[in-house]
């Protein structure tokens, strides 16, 4: 073999030579299309990434092997060769009967886990007949006001076999109690049931804004569920620390990463403070991230998340237990990226976002339906969303090898940059006294608002292109996409069941159970057992939340 031209050992020197000899003449001939190339988070992207950009990254310490510390390349040594991600489509609308039917349909179509979307009154702790619930019952999710609704919701769905994720936060402990009582009535063993409660109250104050009580008592309720589940429902994930909503509210990828992981650290600190053993409860904490449009930025975010979490659990809490160090996460494609204009284009966006989630090593995935910028998904749209995941899993070949993009100069450099940006935020938040204190100061809220505004301006300048909206828009586009309409009879139906439930229950038992719950809350004891008793007596969600409001008060958002 002929001797090849010797390369300078110094990568930077080689880059410089390439720039002078190859790049500059090319740029003279054809300048680049624009001055700045930016990610969807408005972060600058370099023209080219080379070994010079990864010189500070050490393979053994920073990248390593899948299933090995710091888990940059994934938590399973075999990636998806052993087990595919769980295809978990978020669903819920109208009455518990309707949602129960959708659940059964999705299971028949090959979905392997359920994910419940509750309507706004339920998310806010109000019954279907509350004044504030008018116009909202069954609209954004399924309406659940008492155990009677929950029994219908999971009718004929064996909770010992199917894992169920519940998106519920401020009143999460009550919905968990309802779920456990339904499981009990089915004859399921709590020690065997698995699933996830979102129960991430911090991101409510930061982004999603469905709160009830002030922050500190709300954190106490979260810790109660940690404690209860660790002892009684050991395979259940009592929290899903969520960046999804933080991102949807306008955060950049780095902010999503930083605030979510710092929220996670805050929950661990509160758990430890309450006397829980890190290596008993942290392994059951899970995370939830967004999958937005910028493909590589998203993959880097997931890889950085695992690395940061492993390092922080070691350095802050002294854990060496593998399952404490391993960050497991669910991914959902970015609802905020979907457009009302030319809605079928959303199928393509979702597919690419989902692919980023998979290449980032997600444990479970929800793909949005193309009609979600218009309304809740129709059956047809929901089915295409599921099929999108099945195509990625079965046809693309990306599942054949573990972390296929590992070692890419760009991706490794971006992963490193994400980690550093998150750590910068950690330092600021730590200096404020932790995440609860930072939220009370309005810090993450303001950071996100600023990013949302800058993004909107970038779209309006045309720096960020949205196909079909600020470029390739159509004057007379067809608007024949069928949408799901929830009518007002849902409320009537739900109110009827609520009234029937109230009339046939033992009202003395309900009153006693609610008094007991209040007392438990006042005495700062674990509220879960008393909540379960109240639920079993058919106390309604609204009644239980109202009892806790009497003790804890309500949250009022300061003006930021």
């Amino acid at each position: 073999m002929p001797e090849t031209k010797e390369h300078p050992s110094n990568a930077e020197e080689a880059v410089e030579r390439w720039e002078n000899e190859t790049l500059d003449p090319a740029l003279t001939k054809r300048p680049e299309r624009k001055k700045n190339f930016q990610t969807v988070s408005l972060e600058e992207v370099a023209r080219l990434y080379t070994p010079a950009d990864t010189e500070t990254i050490n393979f053994t310490n920073d990248i390593s092997f899948p299933g090995a510390f710091p888990y940059t390349r994934g938590i399973h040594p075999t990636g998806y060769r052993g087990k595919l991600w769980t295809m978990r489509q978020f669903a819920g609308f109208s009455t518990p009967e309707e949602t129960n039917a959708r659940f059964k349909y999705l299971l028949e179509q090959g979905q392997n886990g359920l994910s419940v979307a509750y309507d706004l009154p339920t998310l806010m702790g109000y019954d279907a007949d509350a004044l504030l619930a008018e116009g909202e019952v069954g609209k954004c999710g399924v309406a659940v006001s008492s155990l009677a609704d929950m029994e219908v919701l999971f009718d004929d769905i064996p909770l010992e076999q199917v894992t169920v994720s519940q998106t519920i936060n401020a009143p999460a402990s009550v919905l968990l109690a309802m779920y456990l009582v339904v499981a009990d009535k089915q004859g399921a063993d709590w020690a065997k049931i698995s699933g996830t409660l979102q129960n991430d109250i911090l991101k409510e104050y930061i982004a999603q804004k469905e709160w009830i009580y002030p922050i500190r008592p709300a954190m106490k309720l979260v810790v109660d569920t940690f404690e209860f589940c660790t002892d009684r429902v050991p395979r259940y994930n009592p929290v899903s620390v969520s960046g999804y909503h933080i991102r949807e509210a306008g955060a950049t990828a780095a902010q999503e990463l930083a605030f979510t992981l710092r929220d996670g650290i805050e929950y661990v600190s509160w758990g430890v403070e309450a006397g829980l053993d890190v290596d008993r409860f942290v392994p059951r904490m899970s995370f939830f991230f967004n999958a937005h449009n910028d493909f590589f930025e998203e993959i880097a975010k997931y890889r950085a998340a695992r690395r940061i979490w492993a390092r922080e659990m070691k350095s802050r809490f002294g854990s060496h237990f593998e399952r404490t160090l391993q960050l497991r996460f669910h991914t959902q494609t970015a609802g905020v990226s979907l457009t009302v204009q030319q809605p079928l284009n959303n199928i393509v966006r979702v597919a690419i976002q989902a692919l980023a989630g998979v290449l980032g090593g997600t444990q479970s995935l929800h793909t949005d339906a193309y009609d979600e910028a218009l309304a809740l998904p129709t059956d047809r749209a929901a089915l295409i969303a599921l099929r999108t995941q099945q195509i990625i899993a079965e046809e693309t070949g990306v599942v054949n090898t573990v972390d296929p993009l590992g070692g890419s100069y760009y991706l490794e450099s971006l992963t490193e940059k994400m980690e550093q940006e998150a750590l910068d935020y950690f330092r600021k938040i730590d200096a404020m006294g932790g995440m609860v204190a930072a939220i009370e100061k309005g810090f993450p809220q303001r950071e996100i608002q600023d990013s949302a505004y800058h993004y909107q301006k970038a779209v309006e300048r045309g720096d960020q292109v949205i196909v079909g909206v600020n470029k390739y828009a159509m004057e007379d586009e067809p608007t024949d996409v069928p949408i799901l309409v929830i009518d007002e009879t849902v409320r009537t139906h739900q109110v009827e069941r609520l009234e029937e439930t109230r009339s046939r229950r033992d009202s003395g038992a309900v009153a006693n159970a609610l008094e007991k719950l209040k007392l438990t809350a006042k005495n700062n004891e674990n509220t879960m057992p008393a909540t379960i008793d109240a639920v079993r007596a058919y106390a309604t969600l609204g009644e239980i939340c109202s009892a806790l409001r009497d003790v804890y008060g309500i949250y009022e958002e300061p003006a930021f």
């Binding site: 706004l120 469905e210 949807e248 306008g250 929830i486």
Partner: protein, 134 residues
């Protein structure tokens, strides 16, 4: 027309907490030289109409993403008119299906801005449609 700045109440009725749009709009209107009052979350139509009267606004911008627009918007318009705010514009922004648009306009909503609208279009609409004061 006097030099009075356009005053806008940006309101979030209903239980929905998605306030990204409301906050971006509030800031864009301020940047365009308008005076903006943001109500905060979970305002009833009654609270919104009262705030509009107290703040003497030229327009109310209502942000709704939950699907409750058909219940909330007509009520807001009606209450504003009952309070004598006959010229006060009502703008709606958010997720509203095409088929609901004509009905909302019939019920007195001045304009509905769907996702993808530029903040500049909203500024322009207000500048062109707010009635000059005496």
């Amino acid at each position: 027309m006097s030099n009075r700045k356009i005053r806008v109440l940006v309101a979030k009725p209903g239980l929905d907490g998605h306030d990204r749009g409301a906050k971006v709009i509030a800031r864009a209107l301020r940047d365009a030289g308008m005076e903006v009052i943001y109500t905060g979350l979970r305002q009833t139509p009654e609270m919104i109409a009262t705030a509009a009267l107290q703040e003497d606004v030229d327009a109310v911008g209502v942000s709704i993403l939950s699907g409750a627009h058909n219940t909330l918007c007509p009520r807001i318009v009606q209450l504003l008119r009952e309070k004598g705010l006959n010229n006060c514009l009502v703008l709606v922004g958010g997720i509203v299906p095409q088929e609901d648009l004509p009905k909302l306009k019939q019920q007195g909503v001045s304009e509905i801005f769907l996702p993808g609208t530029s903040t500049e279009d909203i500024v322009k609409f207000l500048q062109e449609n707010v009635k000059p004061r005496e």
